[in-house]
Amino acid sequence: MSELRIAVPRGALFGQTLDLLDRLGLDTSEVRSNDRKLLFDHAGIITMRPSDVPTYVEAGAADLGITGKDVLLEQSERDLYELADLGYGACTMVLATVAGEDPAAEALRRLGVMRIATKYPRIATRHFLETGRQAEIVEVKGSVELAPLTGLAEGIVDLTASGTTLRENGLVVREEIARSTARLIANPVSHKLKARAIDALLERLDAV
């Protein structure tokens, strides 16, 4: 059994994360061949949705984890160590509204507040607070592009990699809020108690 347990995100970062773990010398063949199983004790891997990775790592249920910077920004109060920027999974957190005259800007000017739909309520709240604008944040769980097309909100704050989904729904980027890549995070207690194993992994990471 592996000394370290790593929380691996299923979803957009899954493939590149497994490739990276292969290069670091972990055996991910069982993870690749079985997409129902969640706990792979032999390889020291557990799989979960990306936004759950900080939860498991903070509690020490996993020593290390890989997730997007967007997730870490949204859960910024968590007590975690961010050890490395892994470089892949690049995307941008943006404010987007329908093309043409910006309805969010108009709402802000005439109504004093804009309604913004997002899956990232804390990032959105912080962004509008820091830029001095009033915004009503509407939290949705999926397909956020629907909100400005149906009148639920004037704009969205969402993550985009290529901009394709935004374009297909007639939305344009108005502001860039933050850039995100995959990050390696650690439980602070594991970082002290399993220093040798974690540092060995970081050295292999520097080498690949």
């Binding site: 509690a59 020490g60 007590d79 594991s190 970082h191 108690l193 220093a195 540092d199």
Partner: protein, 324 residues
């Protein structure tokens, strides 16, 4: 309708209470034997007592007015009340002074995070004995208390709040805003953010590498050996503490160059208690040489506080691990 209690508080029923009581009795015996007499101070203090310590990151979260309009706070730790107690009740007493406590403290919580508004702390304060002798004494009592509690696999991280600032001084990084940002990244454990801040300093490659490498250094006494000039000098404090520890205590210590601060008032040694059976630290401590002076009795001091509930979780975790 069911009557609720506030989130972050809880009732303790007899099975748990018996275990907690047995554990704290064993810890109390260690404190007493080491000469740390137990004190109790009021849970309510005047707000100005806690605001003497402007650097304090664990500020009181709960305020009430008394019948005269004074603002009272629920204490957020026991170190500040004991500083007040020393400055008022022991104004002329010859230091060093040794006190222990078992008392609840109160903090604000974030929703849905399992944090406690009210938690029991067990700790000691050694007033008037600075580092390294005072630090070594307190670390020794800490390890004996953890042994008595029944933990077998615990470790104590020892850092130095002055180490990284001293390195920044030596590399002529004086801008207070930059220093604050760097120390914040370090305290948050954000090595990616730290790398960005250090890159922005435009130092020589070797100096930048030193600033990034130092906080990653942690381990047994070997990390104190064979250091280059500035770093060798910067860890003198830790080396002196190590030289004063008995082998059974020294074996428990993780020397951690990246452990730079816990609560705002630590000025020298900083420690944290870890156990592999639990993912969060179960106690914190350190030296605070400026706090007593704010109450009119400038004396160096060092102490620690164990979170009794977390100690109990770690103990049951170790027992479960042994059964498995």
């Amino acid at each position: 309708m069911v009557d609720r209690i506030p989130s972050g508080t809880r009732d303790v029923l007899p099975d748990e209470m018996r275990e907690l009581r047995a554990m704290t009795d064993r810890v109390r015996a260690v404190f007493e034997k080491a000469g740390y007499g137990e004190v109790y101070t009021p849970a309510l203090e005047y707000e100005e007592t806690f605001s003497r310590n402007e650097m304090h990151s664990g500020r009181p979260a709960y305020r009430v007015f008394d019948e005269f309009g004074n603002v009272l706070v629920l204490r957020s730790d026991m170190t500040v009340p004991i500083a007040r107690l020393v400055a008022t009740r022991y104004r002329d007493a010859e230091p060093p002074l040794r006190f222990s406590y078992f008392a609840h403290a109160y903090r604000g919580v974030r929703p849905q995070r399992g944090q406690s508004r009210e938690f029991l702390q067990a700790g000691i304060e050694l007033i008037g004995a600075g580092s390294p002798a005072g630090t070594a004494e307190v670390l020794t009592v800490l390890c004996h208390a953890l042994d008595a509690a029944g933990l077998e696999t615990y470790r104590v991280g020892l850092g130095d709040a002055a180490l990284y600032p001293a390195l920044l001084d030596r590399l002529d990084v004086h801008d207070p805003e930059r220093r604050e940002r760097i120390l914040t990244e370090l305290a948050n454990g954000d090595f990616v953010g730290l790398e960005k801040e250090v890159r922005d300093l435009h130092l020589e490659a070797a100096d930048a590498a030193l600033l990034l490498d130092v906080p990653r250094r942690r381990g047994g006494p070997e990390v104190l050996q064979d250091l280059s000039g500035p770093l060798h000098h910067a860890v003198t404090g830790m080396r002196e503490v190590h030289a004063r520890l008995a082998p059974n205590v020294a074996d428990r210590i993780i020397f951690d160059f990246g452990l730079v601060r816990g609560l705002g008032y630590y000025t020298g040694a900083v420690f944290q208690v870890y156990d592999p059976a639990y993912g969060v630290p179960i106690g914190i401590g350190g030296g605070y040489d400026d706090l007593l002076g704010r109450f009119g009795r400038p004396l160096p001091a060092v102490g620690f506080a164990l979170n009794v509930e977390r100690l109990h979780i770690a103990l049951t975790g170790e027992e479960r691990g042994k059964r498995a």
